[in-house]
């Protein structure tokens, strides 16, 4: 691969990059001005479809296709910008919103224009106060410059952007959880269908897209489809359903590396390339032991799997759930997998919204088991209990409404599949004499 010149992060580090003046001095809003004059909404949608852009928030659904599902006859159409970035290890949306809020807004305006939305709800997680302030100021600048409001740049197109603040709940990143939260209710994900494109926010057709996704829309309108498709990984010819992994990606790198940070490259960099070329290697001259490929929901890679490419198919080939957010968290050789799993199980037990019993009870149970193992009271039987939980909670086994439980299950499943010896050794050495104990389970008769 030749030198890659960042585009999504091109303005990061430039003085005043969060202001409209600096953004426009660097070519900002030119694409939007051209598009509003020369392109119909359908043209924008077609271009995004042709680019092969897939959602950057985690699920990887083709963005243009999502837009075409909108019920055209029903009005109004709402656009929700998902800025509830909460997946552990992930911070690329924060950097875009803090350092280049106008790029996000330009992408948002283009996406609204394409989908016919007249109101966009910009749902930002509470924990980003600087991003909040800069986005609020950027929106004000846009209204003042006629880039938002009742008559965008004199074209007659009207768009309002409403900034909406979350209240620290991971589930609001799930698109229908976000919609429920926006409506003022508890953020319980909805059963689909109907999908938001048919019945979304306030029961109207709605598109929900991620911050990085709409930033890519801006780049596609600026630089064209051919440019976008020249980056990344083309579809697997043996898999007719693969839409490919085109375009640039913001990789978040954290944990035990020398230089944690947000790095931009084409989709398909390997975990090892990220760690070595961008991250300065595993810290303190140590060896790597494991890594999370795309936020904690995606599971675990062993060190001998670090050649895993970060495209939409890569992590799945290594037993992980998927690409997720391409947030790589590196663990060095001193890390205990039991400790990592304890952390992961605690997170999901805390963040399960409580709607689906298998998730609410399963994540809480798994966390209790990990507390027990970590405290030195583990039994070998616990590994089977954990595996049982991991195999039965989630969309994949068909027991939950949303994918939170799949994300909770994957680190458990991967840890047992890839680090079973270590977990067994931990249990045996911390609980000698009792690790084989299986308390008899009293027979229960349930009453109705």
């Amino acid at each position: 691969m030749g030198e890659y010149e960042p585009v999504l992060l091109a303005n990061v580090g430039v003085a005043g990059s969060h202001t409209r003046a600096v953004y426009e001095s660097r070519g900002g809003y030119e694409g939007l001005r051209r598009a509003l004059c020369d392109m119909s909404p359908a043209d924008v949608t077609e271009r995004v479809k042709a680019s092969g852009l897939r959602g950057r928030g985690g699920a990887g659904f083709p963005t243009g296709l999502k837009w075409t599902f909108l019920d055209k006859k029903a009005t109004p159409v709402y656009f929700c910008l998902n800025a509830d970035e909460s997946e552990p290890g992930t911070f690329n949306n924060r950097i875009l919103m803090e350092e280049d809020p106008h790029q996000v807004l330009e992408g948002l305006i283009l996406s609204c224009y394409a989908t016919g939305a007249r109101t966009a709800y910009y749902y930002m997680r509470y924990e980003y106060p600087l991003a909040w302030e800069r986005t609020r100021a950027a929106i004000d600048e846009c209204y003042a410059a006629g880039l938002l409001g009742s008559n965008l740049l004199g074209t007659g197109y009207a768009l309002d952007v409403v900034l909406h603040r979350g209240a620290a709940a991971y589930i609001c990143g799930e698109e229908t959880g976000l919609i429920e939260s926006l409506e003022g209710k508890r953020a319980w994900p909805r059963i689909k269908p109907p999908f938001p494109a048919i019945e979304g926010a306030f029961r109207k057709p709605t598109v929900v897209n991620n911050v990085e996704t709409v930033s890519c829309v801006r780049q596609i309108i600026d630089r064209g489809v051919d440019w976008f498709r020249s980056l990344g990984v083309p579809p697997d010819p043996k898999n007719p359903r693969d839409a490919g992994s085109f375009g640039p990606k913001l990789y978040c790198l954290s944990g035990h590396v020398e230089r944690p940070g947000c790095y931009e490259g084409p989709l398909g960099l390997t975990v090892r390339e990220l760690i070595d070329r961008f991250g300065g290697g595993v810290w303190k001259g140590r060896r790597g032991k494991a890594a999370i490929p795309g936020g904690i929901s995606m599971g675990l890679l062993r060190e001998d799997e670090f050649d895993c490419p970060l495209d939409f198919n890569g992590p799945g080939r290594y037993g992980c759930l998927g690409l997720g957010t391409a947030a790589v968290v590196v663990m060095d050789e001193t890390v205990s997998i039991v400790d990592v799993l304890h952390n992961s199980c605690r997170f999901f037990a805390h963040e399960s919204c409580g709607q689906c019993t298998p998730c609410r009870e399963g994540t809480a149970w798994a966390y209790k088991i990990l507390q027990r193992i970590r405290a030195g009271h583990g039994r070998l039987l616990d590994i089977e209990l954990l595996r049982g939980i991991g195999d039965t909670i989630g969309i994949m086994p068909g027991t939950t409404i949303c994918g939170l439980a799949d994300g909770a299950a994957w680190p458990i499943k991967n840890a047992i599949a890839k680090f079973r010896d270590e977990i067994e050794t931990h249990i045996k050495t911390t609980n000698p004499g009792h690790y084989g104990a299986t308390r008899p389970v009293p027979e229960r008769h349930s009453a109705h």
């Binding site: 970035e85 909460s86 997946e87 552990p88 290890g89 992930t90 911070f91 949306n93 924060r94 997680r125 509470y126 924990e127 980003y128 106060p129 600087l130 302030e133 309002d160 409403v162 909406h164 603040r165 979350g166 209240a167 620290a168 709940a169 991971y170 939260s181 926006l182 409506e183 003022g184 209710k185 508890r186 953020a187 306030f202 978040c252 790198l253 954290s254 944990g255 035990h256 944690p260 940070g261 947000c262 999370i292 904690i296 947030a327 968290v329 663990m331 890390v335 400790d339 990592v340 952390n343 992961s344 605690r346 997170f347 805390h350 963040e351 919204c353």
Partner: protein, 162 residues
């Protein structure tokens, strides 16, 4: 309807909440914004405020209560400290010493996680991923993100509290 003098929501709060009405097609959508407004002024959302928000939004108090309690974000019983500090405990921060950092802060400030110092200056809480993993371990103290926090940084932060 309670008398104005009994009200816990001030005219300023009510005006701020009403400002949100035209931005949403339903009143219920103003629930979270309203809770944020009240919490910013009072540092908690007591029961009476829930009832008054419900009146403004034309909802049953239980609907507001339902949303409020879902988020575990708005204190109900008593106000949080003047500064509310969140110590991230998710994986990236955990790998870089978040647990030790929380222990240190608790020892120095003489509080347990979730607690408020006796002088009311600080509420110290765990947070799930703050989305600042490149700065692990990190703390969000009010609107201030403390990055790559060492024990010395933590002490300096505690001394800075008023």
């Amino acid at each position: 309807m309670s008398q104005p003098s009994d009200r816990i929501l001030t005219d300023a709060m009510i005006a701020e909440i009403r400002d949100y009405f035209p931005r949403y097609p339903t009143r219920q959508a103003v629930t979270l914004p309203a809770l944020h407004v009240v919490n910013r002024y009072l540092r908690h959302v007591p029961r009476r405020a829930v009832v008054e928000i419900a009146e403004l939004l034309e909802l049953a108090p239980a609907q507001v209560e339902d949303t409020l309690t879902f988020y575990a974000f708005f204190p109900q019983e008593r106000p949080h400290g003047k500064t509310r500090a969140w110590v991230c405990r998710s994986i990236s921060c955990h790998l870089r010493g978040a647990e030790e950092l929380m222990d240190h802060l608790c020892r120095q400030a003489k509080v347990q996680p979730g607690g408020t110092t006796s002088d009311g200056r600080l509420t110290l809480e765990h947070a799930e991923c703050l989305g600042a993993c490149e700065h692990a371990p990190c703390v969000l103290a009010g609107d201030q993100l403390l990055k790559t926090v060492t024990a010395d940084d933590a002490d300096r932060f505690l001394r800075s509290l008023r």
